[in-house]
Symmetry: C2
Subunit: 330 residues, 2 copies
Amino acid sequence: MSLNIKDIAKLAGVSPATVSRVINNSGNVNEENKERVLKVLEETGYKPNALARGLIHKKTNTLGIVVPDISNINFSEFVKGIENQARSYDYNIILTTSENNFNKEVECFEMFKEKRVDGIIFSGTRFTEKHKSELDNSTIPFLVFGQNFEHEKIISININNQKAAYDATKLLFSKGAKNIAMIGGPLWDRAAGYDRFMGFLSASVERGLKPNELIYEEGDFTIKSGYNLMKAILNKKKIDAILAANDFMALGAIKCLADLGYSVPNEVQVMGFDDNIIAEIYNPSLTTVKINFYEAGKIAAKAIIDKINKLKVDKYIELKYELVIRKSTI
Amino acid sequence: MSLNIKDIAKLAGVSPATVSRVINNSGNVNEENKERVLKVLEETGYKPNALARGLIHKKTNTLGIVVPDISNINFSEFVKGIENQARSYDYNIILTTSENNFNKEVECFEMFKEKRVDGIIFSGTRFTEKHKSELDNSTIPFLVFGQNFEHEKIISININNQKAAYDATKLLFSKGAKNIAMIGGPLWDRAAGYDRFMGFLSASVERGLKPNELIYEEGDFTIKSGYNLMKAILNKKKIDAILAANDFMALGAIKCLADLGYSVPNEVQVMGFDDNIIAEIYNPSLTTVKINFYEAGKIAAKAIIDKINKLKVDKYIELKYELVIRKSTI
DNA sequence: ATGAAAGCGCTAACAG
DNA sequence: CTGTTAGCGCTTTCAT
C-alpha cells in the first residue's frame, strides 16, 4: 500500500540508511544523492511511519489527556491551551473524557500505557487506590490539573482555591453584604468543593460570624443545582449575597432570583467562579473569580514536556486568578 | 524500563509466542500454561506495546480529528460525540485544532499520515487544491462534517442548511414579521454562510420580496459581529425581525437591541442557528435552529469506523435539525 | 500445544 | 560518504 523507506531507497538508487539520513538530517550525505532522495520524497509524498520510529526511539511525541467533559467550556479552553502549546513543541494529544468515572480514568491510563504516550495530563476529582497503583507502576510523567493530590510522581497545577474564595467573600462583604450564603460544590472535591468552602468560611469567621451560622448548600456545579439551591435558601433565610463555587451555579441562582422577582444586584448580589464565557454576556453580567483555563493548559503542556525532556519542573505550580467585577454585584 | 513480551515469557517459563496467544486469545494454549501467563501478566501489570502491534497489523485504532476551535461549544459537543462513540468501538482520537488555517489543516493531515491513523474526521470551511492533493494521495478514510465538498473519497455529514434557513425564515414570517434582516456568515462558507443565506432568500422571494430588497449583512459568526451588524442595520432600515446565521451573532444582535432600547421580541424578533447551550439560558432565551452536534459526532465516528471496516457507508449523511421556539420570538 | 524464526518499517552502529 | 546488519516489541507462519 503506502511506500516504505526501502521503496524510496530503490527509487533513488541508494540504501535505506541514506534515505534515513536525508530525512533526519543526520550524518553526512553526498549532495547529489541528497538531491535525488529529496526529489523522490517530493514526488512520492512519502511519510515515514511514526510507529516504527516510535518503536526505536521509545518516544511517540504524544500526550495523553483526561478531562471529565470536553463540552464544559472550562475544560475545552484548557485542552485548547494544551493542544496549542503541545503542537508548538511538535507533540500531539490523545484526548479522552471520563465523566469523572474512576474506572474510565484508570482505563484511559492503561490505554495511554499501551500507546506509549510520553506524558499524561489528568483532570479529575478523586485519587483512589487504583489511581495510585496505576501511578506507582508507571514511569510516564504525570500532571494533575485542578487538584492537589498527594503523590511523589505527580506534578500539580492549580490555583489557590481557598485564598480565592476568601478574597471573593471579602469582596462581597466590602460591597455591603451582611448575609452571604454559599452554593458550593461537593465537599469531597477537595479543590473546587472543599477549599472554596474553606475560603468562604475563613472570611466569614474573620468577619465575626460563627461557623454554625453560615448558610451553605452543597451543589454539583450544574445550572440546575444552582437554581434549586437558591430556591431552597430563599425559603429558609434572608440573604443579600450569594457566592457560588462556579459560574454555572451562579447563573442558575441568578435565574432563580429573577424568576422569583428579586433584583440582582440590588437585593441580592451574586458572585461566581471560573469566568466562563457566559459570565460576561449574561444579563446581568456576572462578577466572578477568573481562572484562565487556556493559559493553564499551556502551562500544563509546557511543564509535562519539560518533564519528559528531563528538565527541572516544580512539583507544584500555582496559577494566578483574578476578581472580575461586573453587574451582578454592586 | 518497562517489560516486554520476552520478559513475560521468561517469567512464565514459556515462549513469547505463547504469551502472545494468551493475550490475544488466538490459537490453543494448554490450560496450565495459560494460568501461569495470566498470573505473570497480572503481577507485572504488563501492557503490550501498541506501536509494535500497529506496525504489524497496519492499524492503530486511532482517529485523527481536525476542528477549527475546540473551545467553541458546537465543536466541543461534536468532539465529545466522536470520542464517546469511538471509545465504544475501542478507538481513540488524536485531536487537533486549525483555527480554519488551511496550512495547519494540511499539516495535520500529514501528521495523521505519519501516525498512521485509521481514519480522519475533518471540520473546516474550505477545500483547496492542497486539501485535494492531500486526499488524492491518501488511502485513509476521510469524513467531512458541516460542508459538502466535492471529492470522490469524501464522506460528508451535514444538515440541509438551505432548507433549515428557509424554514427559519418562514417561521418568522408566520409570527407576523414583515421586514426580516439576515445577519449571515461569509458567503464563501458554502454551508453556514452561503446555503443559509440562500434559504433566507428563497423564503423571502416566495413571500413576494425582490432579491434586491433583502436586508443582508455579512458577519463572521462572532458575538461582536452580530452586535455591530445589528447596529448598522438599525441605522439604515426599519426591521421587525432578525435571522442570524448562528447563535453567537444572534446573541450579539439581542445585546445591541437591548442597549439601544428595543424590546425583544415585541419590537424585534430574533432567531439564531445551532442551539448553543447559551441560547437556552440567555435572557431572553433564544429561538433557534437546533443542530445536535453531539449526535453528529457519534454518527460521524460510526460512519468512519464502518468505512475503516470496509462496510458500506453512504457518501452523504443528512442530519436532522429542529426549530426550537423560545422567548426571542413572539 | 508450543517454540523458532521471519518480518512489520525504521534507525544506529559498524565497517568499509 | 555509504551500505550492511542488527534490533525496537510484537505477531504469525511453519515445524515439531
